[in-house]
Symmetry: D2
Subunit: 374 residues, 4 copies
């Protein structure tokens, strides 16, 4: 192998001209990428670029994708340990490459050891400044928004990191269509009130104000996951909430028992299969409260509650929740948008929306958001 | 990281149930992958699989893609050295995964150090037998067939490994449409008579009978690249030749001077821009002779000369060559098929056919080949 | 012209084996086609078929389309008068042709003279029995459902019959996808409470129980347009309501004054551009009442309120109306479904949904309805 | 029906501002439309337009399509007799409408009575001048070029006018993509040497220099069909020849016996199924001679021999013919272009290319022709 003598190593802190996508702690050296779609972006004028990553996990290893000048070139599992990855080499050193190193898997609430960090870079050129895009979008969701099932053959059923994807996700495609920066807050199985299995702790609102509040354990605490998020640092123009699918699932799943207390949690169905009114109301109140929380932290954002990629049974309740919120607040910048249901043609792995489903969603959602922005 | 105590290491020679795609030497341990699209295929019943790769290069590093149950999950640069790559982990150990580790870059005639090998695997299950597909196809071509430009943004101009691709290549797509195994013999810039820059050594026929005869240097010799290929080991049903684009380029490029002898080589144009008749004849004779060579080594194959993805100026000469070959041999199993030209909509990086161009080509070529096979 | 001596003339009443689509009077000889998409369907085993039509109009002439064995072969303006049209000729007399003569334009509330009738047929073969399709769908809507703008270049602005279309309409495409018979009740400019220009008479509920109650004048009365519709004759499995677009328009249009009484009608906006709450409530009550009326006449139908092809401002109000209806009735077979908005790419003539918009709507709506039927 | 008092009648000769597409006699009043795709084009500023047509036939009635401002609005059988057809009514009289009345069926060599004429127009406005498009294309072909099978369900087998189409034909689509005027010379079953059933009179070259030389009988003679065509009146930039499909068919069809002389005609196959060399040579000579004839009449046209929409067995012979022609003439403006074969997905009625096949052909052919024009 021909050595490149011109490579110089810089800690990530030394790289001033960089852009970090996705919530992370302020003191970001080494740079921890928590959420799916979170990324390090560079404008790199030089011929060869390496990054030093560090990864750990108990079960769910991280994956990254590499995008150069907007074109996807690599996707790989990040094995445990600390090592160097070559991003590109042999390129014209006079051309500036826009590079994004993207976390391709969601934050893993079920794996206290899961970690992905970027410590340093080696480069033989200069990093140039990056400009913000004209808009900012925040996506809040569950497995759909985490891109579960974008990768993998349709029959796949294992719940593993490999099937998740951030690049062909509707979040990335929508943001690209709108020329927007974006970040994602999402967790498979979670809802606005409860997780799919009636666990009341599996709700996004409880962790929304933290950097990555759904991670557990001292290691994650040390990484800053539990820090209060600085909302002033990134105020979205649009917030897309895509929750409700697991809240619906809870009605059709067995009860969940809190071990410590023995308390039983269950969203109930009536005997005729319809939703128990009280429990549905609880969902609606949770949704309404979440809207209030979102508005509190994001005063100028258009908030769009989207729903429908895996069934649309909760849509009436979502409309009621938004309606009630608007009546009580006179907040005009909140709306509901139905997403196209996933079909046999568009399904991916694990019975989740596949690439075609994400493309269809992004096309329709982008059309809708463009009108809100105009 | 949770250790998997059940992993056992096997040298590649110990893995009996495997399928190797693409020409390589007989004594294939470690397994050297030379050509683009060459691959190790396994039916792996177990939960976690690793491969040990070894790579080297002076300039042009190898890349691999990983395909699981037909779905593309990973693509990565293989850095110099010998190390382990995890193919999958955490999967249901009772399910059989069809796994292909695919060389995503062509053999590099310009880099004597370029090497990709698989030494060993670690696995916690059993490798099951693999069946041959009903058909075998051999593709012979240049940069187009090497998938140059499938990856990368349209403005990219660097000549680097990163922009090559085997998985969304028309070769892979055509083979998939026909449910066929396939192998590729291809080299950017080469022709049937001469390379794009009039170098008479840049021709595929001269190296066709070797395992990978275009590689140079003692290292490659030691890897078996210059061994005579055993044609009995893999007799294709169809041979697709996609050559002529660089033979055409030679007419429009400066002369090439053999350093050792001072001999000048140049495919000439007439003053009015038309092809010099004598030089065009030389191309036709080379094409005709190559057909004879192909028939000699592949007695039962349908041979299809395809052309047209980057212009179709040589098509009349190709038809004349095939016509003359057929007149002289009465060989009925030879034909010509025009491929769709690349357009602004379908172009990829480096002004080469992009993914859409490869998809269009594969759709039309597969339709044509299906008729030949029926 | 070679004469066909075998042609025999039958009055439409003499043709026993026929199927009439769309509401019309019981004593249907001559057969009057009122609504868009209404049709005469025949299974004709013979070589040559003619129909005798009669048409009149003051301003808005009728058009028909002819579909043979599911393929669209003709579309033509029907000029005033009574004359014969050849449907097909020169065909194999041993083959059965499924033929549909389809009214391609809506009933025209603004033209008291508008009329389309089929008096008789000439045929040289036998009419065979027709079977019902497994499902029946009724579509209720406005100009969108009337297919206004499916024909014509995008800049067209004239309000004329020529731009309407029934065959590439989402109603026809959805019914075909579900293998369903269908009928349409629709009128450009009308709503559930009021027309786009605040005319309170431009509402579908008021005329829903008549054969074609929106037509005016003695001529139409004589044709049976004001007869009470016999709901027992055709009970739909699904009713798709696509109203609300003009009710929304009324808020943004000038007031309407009833000439006779001087009474002023206006759906009001607040000063800040939001909907006047009282007027919006009136819309919601009208929608809720219409659901009750629909249920009364169609006891077993799934009722789906669809909306969104030209904006979705009324969607929250529609959800509230449906919600209130369900609370008051416990009727489970009512739901709301958002249709894809029309975009620059999918728009047709007169700023209305074009063919692509209707295709997109039909694809999504059919997917949704399939689930309701399963 | 409300009468339009402003309508004035003009004989077609009185309409100075008109454009006639397709070959016809010079003294074109009444205007006879012979070939498929031939048309009367007007820029009509007014509210209501009628045309007076006259039609006759023994077996194969004419059909027309009407295109307004580029949008297809009507297609109808023209019954025998002379009568008025309303093209549009009720439109804004201040807007100019571009109107094309298009013959939707080929000239019918097998029906001596077949005729379509336009005698007069009624209009309430002014006809404005029309400009020529930047290019002119002539298409020469057989049933494919006549659009046989564009209309009708796939199982249709009757050979009738109804299944032919000019508007979604690859000729119209290619011309539109190139912004070109075009005309068509085509006849189902015919070839360059012989028809599909070995009739030696079924060849286009014999009739190429007449206005519409394939029509027979005194009536057609009187209409000017046998007049020598004035090639100076319309010199194409491109000639697309799409012949060879029926010449191939002749090899696989029974012999044809000239009744008058008893002479037998047959393109022979060898016993092994290959083409008889002498007969294939006759085809090649016919093709070569036709190229010479085309060049004689069209000195500046790019001539492109296209082939392949229904098989491509004759392609080598076509290449040889073009090659031989070029060797003998040094004519550089002749080339060959392979068209995409029709597949199960793209087939139309009567086992002929359907709309999708014509769209695919037009897309690829237009790309190729654009390069020739640049």
């Amino acid at each position: 192998m021909r050595a490149n003598d011109k490579l110089k190593q810089y800690s990530i802190a030394e790289v001033i001209n960089k852009k970090v996508h996705g919530r992370t702690r302020k003191e970001n050296a080494p740079l921890t990428l928590f959420w799916t779609g979170s990324a390090l972006e560079l404008n790199a004028k030089g011929s060869e670029l390496w990054i030093e990553v560090e990864s750990d996990y108990d079960m769910y290893e991280p994956w990254i994708s590499i995008v150069i000048n907007g074109a996807w070139v690599s996707r790989q599992m990040i094995q445990a340990g600390r090592y160097w990855i070559c991003v590109f080499r042999g390129m014209n050193d006079q051309m500036v490459k826009n590079v994004r190193i993207i976390k391709d898997v969601q934050a893993m609430s079920g794996d206290m050891d899961c970690k992905l960090q970027i410590h340093a870079v080696k480069f033989d050129g200069d990093f140039l400044p990056l400009e913000d895009k004209p808009y900012k979008i925040e996506f809040i969701g569950d497995s759909i928004t985490s891109g579960e099932g974008i990768f993998g053959a349709k029959p796949e059923e294992d719940w593993i990191s490999m099937w998740f994807g951030a690049v062909e996700n509707y979040t990335a495609l929508t943001a690209e269509a709108l020329n927007a920066d974006y970040q994602v807050i999402s967790q498979s199985g979670w809802g606005v009130l409860t997780s799919w299995d009636n666990n009341p702790h599996g709700n996004i609102p409880d962790i929304y104000d933290k950097v990555c509040g759904l991670l557990q354990g001292e290691k994650n605490e040390a990484l800053g996951a539990w820090q209060k998020h600085d909302f002033n640092s990134w105020q979205p123009d649009i917030i897309v909430v895509n929750l409700g699918t697991n809240d619906n699932g809870a009605f059709h799943s067995p009860e969940w028992v809190e071990e410590a207390t023995g308390v039983i949690y269950k969203q109930r169905l009536n005997e005729d299969g319809s939703y128990n009114e009280e429990d549905l109301k609880a969902f609606e109140r949770a949704a309404e409260n979440f809207l209030g929380m979102l508005r509190g932290y994001n005063p100028r954002a258009q908030i769009v509650w989207t729903y429908g990629m895996i069934g649309q049974d909760m849509m009436p309740a979502i409309y009621r929740a938004v309606d009630s919120y608007q009546k009580n607040t006179q907040d005009k910048k909140v709306s509901v948008f139905q997403l196209p249901n996933t079909t046999e043609q568009t399904v991916g792995a694990r019975s989740h929306p596949g690439r075609l489903a994400h493309e269809k969603t992004a096309a329709q959602l982008a059309d809708y958001l463009k009108e809100l922005l105009s």
